[in-house]
């Protein structure tokens, strides 16, 4: 024992007493990371590249959702009951829609011309970084450089308790939306024609194209699906943390970590990776100051990339989901 | 014990469920021209990759005896270390530095296996300059040896298939190897180029004293060159012997008939 022993003992006590509260917060964050991570994983699956501008899809979903709430709720008192539910559904839909639109434009402008030319990988990365930089700075110009706090479409009260830890309305919403999104995504990818196309391209684009899959269309759809989830996640994130033009950077870096953790290219891996990262990060709040939480996530990223770059479930969109 | 250069014992290499090499044992003597044949997917390239440190087999041992006669265990060694130890190779689908000239391709081979000397390179000291001169001279010599002098300043992407093969051979030789591994050197070449290739490979062994390990589908070329042959099928060695023995071996004939002899020979 010694100083370190005391430190550990004290912190373990905190961990025990706070565990469930942190756990619930971690799961909520984790679901959001998972939703963003899906965008990375899908695009990686079909194009074998990391969509660096995904953070801006998330950001634009956040702003879209903000404007919906600003219009319908404004500075008035938060509504309750069915109108809350309606607003949240609307916010998710609009956030998702705008995310999908931005993703589509992005694919058209920053990726497709390069794909046509078979540009080297470095060119894709640079183009994507340029697009990301362009988008968030443009948002900064249009919406100002200060953060907006989002009007609340519901009253955030504890809905129920888990082992004595209160579960806020916000967490319930994220949980439900996340569940619906993941369930429908899983169905789309594994059961529909569209999903089969995506999986075929992911496994072997050339063969898929010979078998009559339209590559351009499949890639566009992949971006739309990833953009929808990313945009919706942006809305949900904005509900709690407000929106600002740089809001995409940190969550996207973490979502990317989640995608790698679960095995990039692997859908279920993205969800599981998101949850693991969210929970781990939340629990580590007991041991490190909040300012260093991003460092923890980054440490996980580097460790996973170095130790097991294929992630927990392994790469491969074709096999999973 | 004769003068062995490679000794492969019970090597097994897997990729997930696929077994590329299954308990393979073989050996090669110094100075020997040895061929490995077998149908498509038999594991020939995998064997080369295991010998050059590109793949790491899960089981077995591979020993390489370098210039100084000290045996070296290959498994676990990186590819560049094998190159530095004296194992040079060419690739099945030729891999050149395609935006460089023929000359530069070979020069990189000539200088890369020696120490780096960053500071010297930065300041361009006398030692560096001497080094460069030496590499240039060696490159010119090798280009002449393989008959590419005229194409020295051509961008290597503009070379014909035959010339690309010769470029790869020159680049491999530039690293001063003990043994040169050739993965289907005749693929994509025309009959006259093939004849020139047979001569060139012989000269590599006779004049430079470099041991040759060869993968080839073209039976005529194999029979003309090889002193001994191993036959691989589904990752296992199914036969070994002189060209005549192998040709007469019913097991080999069956392995090839199983996939169609014509196809294998036309490749």
């Amino acid at each position: 024992m010694g100083a370190f022993g005391h430190y550990l003992a004290a912190h373990l006590d905190t961990l025990k007493s706070e565990f469930w509260a942190l756990f619930v917060g971690g799961v909520a964050n984790g679901l959001l990371y998972g939703m963003i991570a899906v965008g990375y994983t899908l695009v990686y699956g079909v194009l074998r590249l990391i969509n660096f501008a995904h953070s801006e899809i998330f950001m634009s979903g956040g702003f879209a959702g903000y404007f919906v709430l600003r219009y319908f709720v404004g500075s008035g008192a938060p509504p309750a009951g069915m109108s809350s539910v309606g607003l949240i559904i609307l916010g998710v839909l609009v956030g998702g829609l705008v995310g999908a639109i931005v993703a589509t434009v992005l694919e058209r402008v920053a990726y497709r011309p390069l794909r046509r030319r078979n540009a080297p990988k470095l060119a894709y990365l640079i183009s994507a970084i340029g697009a990301s930089y362009f988008l968030f700075n443009l948002a900064g110009k249009e919406f100002g450089h200060l953060a907006y706090s989002t009007p609340q479409p519901y009253i955030n009260h504890p809905v129920f308790h888990i082992f004595g830890a209160p579960v806020q309305m916000y967490f319930v919403i994220i949980f439900l939306v996340g569940l619906v999104m993941f369930a429908s995504l899983d169905r789309i990818i594994s059961k529909t024609r569209l999903g089969r196309g995506i999986r075929a391209v992911a496994q072997d684009a050339e063969t898929a194209s010979l078998m009559g899959v339209n590559i351009d269309r499949t890639i566009a759809i992949t971006f739309i699906v990833g953009g929808t989830l990313g945009g919706a996640a942006g809305f949900l994130f904005g509900l709690n943390f407000g929106v600002v033009y740089t809001m995409g950077f940190v969550p996207a870096l973490k979502a990317f970590t989640a995608a790698v953790l679960g095995g990039i290219g692997n859908l279920r891996g993205a969800m599981i990776g998101g949850l693991i990262l969210g929970i781990f990060e939340s629990l580590s709040l007991v041991f490190v100051q909040a300012a260093y939480i991003d460092v923890v996530a980054f440490g996980i990223l580097v460790t996973v990339l170095l130790v097991r770059p294929t992630g927990i479930l392994g790469e491969r969109l074709g096999r999973a989901a | 014990m004769s003068d062995m250069i490679f000794n492969v014992e019970h090597v097994t290499l897997r990729f997930g469920g696929v077994i590329s090499l299954n308990d393979v044992s073989l050996h090669q003597d110094r100075g020997e021209i040895l061929a490995v044949i077998g149908p498509n997917g038999a594991g020939k390239t995998s064997l080369f990759n295991s010998l050059t440190g590109v793949y790491q087999p899960q089981e077995g041992t591979i020993t390489f005896v370098g210039k100084n006669g000290k045996p070296l265990s290959i498994i676990g060694r990186k590819a560049y270390r094998m190159a530095n130890a004296g194992v040079a190779r060419t690739f099945q689908a030729s891999r050149m530095f395609s935006a460089m000239t023929t000359f530069e391709n070979v020069k990189i081979g000539a200088e890369s296996h020696r120490g780096i000397g960053v500071v010297g390179a930065m300041l361009r000291g006398p030692a560096t300059r001497r080094d460069e001169k030496h590499s240039d001279a060696r490159t010119i010599e090798l280009l002449k040896f393989v008959g590419l002098t005229e194409k020295a300043n051509a961008i290597s992407a503009s070379l014909s298939y035959g010339d690309r093969r010769r470029l790869e051979i020159a680049r491999g030789l530039a690293t001063d190897p003990q043994v040169l591994l050739l993965d289907e050197p005749a693929a994509g070449t025309n009959p006259s180029e093939k004849q020139a290739l047979v001569k060139l490979i012989r000269r590599v062994r006779d004049e430079m004293g470099v041991t040759i390990l060869l993968i080839e589908h073209d039976m005529k070329l194999v029979m003309a060159l090889a002193e001994r042959i191993y036959v691989l099928n589904f990752g296992s060695v199914i036969a070994e012997g002189s060209p005549d023995e192998v040709r007469a071996n019913p097991v080999v004939v069956e392995a090839y008939l199983g996939t169609s002899t014509e196809e294998a020979e036309s490749k």
Binding site: L122, G130, K141 | S98, K107, E111, S112, A157
Partner: protein
């Protein structure tokens, strides 16, 4: 007859008009938190004068500009594709490799002479300060990042970290940080130069050795994170870095070596000459390096890593080397900035910064030293111009929007930059040609 109204032409019209709309947004007035849609509505609706000729709403002006661009583009495109030609160019015999590359001593001497007299020609304090803080420093950073991105082909998005380490090292060895100085006697910044360069190079090795094993895209994201982490540490480790306020106690450099005595003070011009000296030094070292076997090994790794390994090149070693060598000039730039401004704080070392440097390299031409120097001078001069006398509606932050758009545009239209490195250009063209099958066409000769 409506033959001319083909689908492609209509599509092109739509594309041109969309681009024009984006430019309208980029150049329009800004919104703010109290008026979040002001920027949008006024970018299109605000009335503006067209070179004083007539007044109309912005969208009308832009619409017609778009039409003109569309016409020009359509004409240009109808002149035929240039792909074949570029493949031919790529395959043409370059200068014989055994021949020495002509060094344009004359041109270089003229440029250097111009750089030397420049502070006596341009005497406005704003520009004299800009020459050091905004141009010389960025040139140093660009030629360093060029070693990593251009020579070794590694995308480093956390390059600012090395600049920050250089600056903080200066503060540290001069005793300007809360933590005790490195040596017993605090050094003056002039002698911090070698120390800072050594420390950033070591940092390059420490960061590079584990991460440079990663694939290119993973490396980019890891370096991005690393740049961010450095800022987090600088911001939060009060006891060591001085937290978000940083340090404002850094002395100016001076030399006292026997008869040589010199003190740099507040005036920017002496710093300019110090920087110029190091720029020349780094340019010489880096270009010698590029033409040495080290440079050739970098090229080999970039073009085909497997083949490079097969001739005995250890890719990791050379990549780490590129990282460390590229970091050196950033380290010096850090010393220069810290000792001239005498203060440093974490907010100046952001992600934005890394990307700005990347733009300079990409615009100039990755792998081309002349290109990146030109790119850096061009962009930084324009930036300072815009900062000094902004056109109406322009805010300094708008710059980043343009830089982002520039990156995308360069990748689409001119990936090898304004003054391309011949080799890089050939690599890009060949890889593109191979894909399209143009290479085989040209090689087999049926391209008439």
């Amino acid at each position: 007859m409506r033959v001319w109204l083909t689908k492609a032409i209509v599509r092109r019209l739509l594309i041109t008009q969309s681009i024009v709309a984006v430019i309208e947004l980029m150049t329009g007035p800004a919104g703010s938190n109290s008026q979040p849609v002001y920027g949008f509505s006024h970018s299109f609706g605000e009335s503006s004068s067209f070179f004083g000729l007539f007044r109309t709403q912005r969208w009308v002006t832009f619409f017609f500009v778009g039409l003109i661009c569309w016409g020009v583009a359509s004409f240009w495109i109808s002149q035929g594709s240039r792909v074949r030609k570029s493949v031919h160019d790529a395959l043409a015999f370059p200068r014989a490799a055994t021949q020495k590359r002509p060094v344009r001593w004359g041109a270089m001497a003229v440029l250097l002479g111009f750089a030397i007299i420049l502070p006596h020609v341009e005497t406005a304090p704003f520009w004299q300060a800009a020459m050091v803080e905004q141009i010389a420093v960025y040139v140093l950073l660009a030629i360093g990042l060029n070693v990593v991105v251009g020579f070794a082909g590694l995308l480093d998005l956390g390059y600012v970290a090395f600049y920050a380490i250089g600056a903080y090292t200066t503060a540290w060895v001069t005793g300007a940080l809360p933590t005790p100085a490195l040596f017993h006697h605090a050094l003056n910044p002039f002698f911090a130069i070698p120390v800072a360069i050594a420390i950033v190079m070591i940092a390059g090795i420490i960061l590079g050795a584990p991460t440079l094993r990663l694939r290119g895209d993973y490396l980019a994201i890891v370096t991005l994170g690393f740049g961010e982490i450095i800022t987090i540490f600088a911001n939060n480790l009060y006891g060591i870095t001085g937290g978000s306020l940083g340090s404002n106690q850094i002395p100016h450099p001076s030399i006292h070596l026997g008869p040589i005595k010199y003190i740099w003070g507040l005036a920017p011009v002496p710093y300019y000459y110090l920087a110029l000296g190091f720029v020349v030094l780094f340019i010489i070292i880096f270009s010698l390096l590029e033409r040495s076997r080290v440079g050739r090994a970098w090229t080999a790794i970039r073009e085909d890593e497997v083949a490079a390994e097969s001739v005995g090149i250890n890719p990791l070693k050379y990549k780490v080397m590129a990282f460390a060598i590229g970091a050196a000039s950033a380290g010096f730039a850090g010393v220069l900035t810290a000792s001239q401004l005498i203060f440093i704080f974490p907010a100046s070392f952001t992600l934005q910064f890394s990307i700005n440097i990347l733009v300079l390299v990409i615009l100039g031409g990755m792998g081309s030293i002349a290109g990146v120097v030109f790119g850096a001078i061009l962009i930084q001069t324009v930036t300072e111009f815009l900062f000094h006398s902004p056109p109406s509606g322009y805010q300094p932050q708008d710059l980043y929007i343009y830089l982002g758009a520039l990156l995308v545009a360069m990748m689409i239209f001119r990936p090898s930059g304004l003054i391309p490195s011949k080799r890089r250009q050939r690599e890009i063209r060949l890889s593109e040609a191979e894909h399209e099958g143009h290479l085989d066409e040209v090689l087999t000769g049926d391209d008439t």
